[in-house]
Symmetry: C2
Subunit: 145 residues, 2 copies
DNA sequence: CTTGACCTTCCAATGATGGGAAGGCCTATC
DNA sequence: GATAGGCCTTCCCATCATTGGAAGGTCAAG
């Protein structure tokens, strides 16, 4: 199977397959005499593993760890679980952060008449007049930006 | 005021101030005879505006639109409100997506014994045995990855 | 044997930010 | 007035995952 077919069957683009090979996430594929990469069913399964992990928001580095565990027949499921829970925790952190943004924006937008007048609490807040909005919404220690 | 002080007062790093100038988000700063950038109180206020908008998750392109409205004395608050609501909608979309990831991962992690045995539904799911998890959780059209 | 679809490598760009080097400027201290 | 060290300047590179494209080789069907 060449790279195009592997891409179709795995849902990972050919570009990304080459990239993953280049960065060492996956081993180098076999080659035909003319230099084309060849893929087996196992390779496609690995690519689908990667695709699925990406869909779950894992970074490529974490996927490397997952792959290592996947290949390790004597792995401990605790190690896998720990990676998953770290991922959950990271996602939850980002969700909380975004929810705080939404709350602030929603509060500001509700105070905005939304007509043809220029007065707008949204701009006023961005300008720095923070008294118009509850400070607890966005000045907490949770922001990592 | 030179760029270091402007950075300190605005919370935007000197690097980013130069970058914003280079990309046209902010107008070119004045210069001293020896080439140093100079900033006024108004400039710092604009930088703080940018900083605050970044904290609310606006992309730089959207901040450009916000700044244009901020400068426009005859703006309509409806335009500002629309930008804010688009931002809210975008954030909510991402939050939903992440919540679906968390739900899937949480479900998988709960099925994982987390001990020294190798059996692990997390890996099994990543491998492609999607029957272990409700497909509606993550196969919807909302994914933009 | 040509055509079109595929493959190869290499280079570049995205968006927002940080790091660093090489060199110039400013200010305080001696 | 010289010097030190802290700031400034520009320029280049790196990140992270992904896409795009160009230039050129290969394969399969007509």
């Amino acid at each position: 199977m060449n790279i195009g077919e592997a891409a179709k069957h795995s849902g990972v683009s050919a570009k990304m397959i080459r990239y993953y090979e280049q960065t060492g996430l996956i081993p180098s594929a076999g080659r035909t005499a003319s230099g084309y990469r060849t893929y087996t069913g196992t390779d496609v399964q690995m690519l689908r593993f990667i695709r699925r992990a990406r869909d779950l928001g894992f970074q490529v580095e974490a996927i490397g760890e997952l792959l290592a565990l996947w290949r390790d027949r004597s792995r401990h499921s605790a190690d896998v679980k720990q990676l998953a829970q770290a991922q959950i925790a990271g996602l939850r952190r980002k969700i909380v952060e975004m929810e705080s943004m939404v709350a602030t924006l929603d509060h500001l937008a509700q105070g905005c008449s939304g007509d043809d007048r220029p007065d707008c609490p949204i701009l006023a807040d961005l300008e720095g007049e923070a008294s118009l909005v509850a400070p607890a919404c966005h000045s907490g220690p949770g922001f990592n930006r």
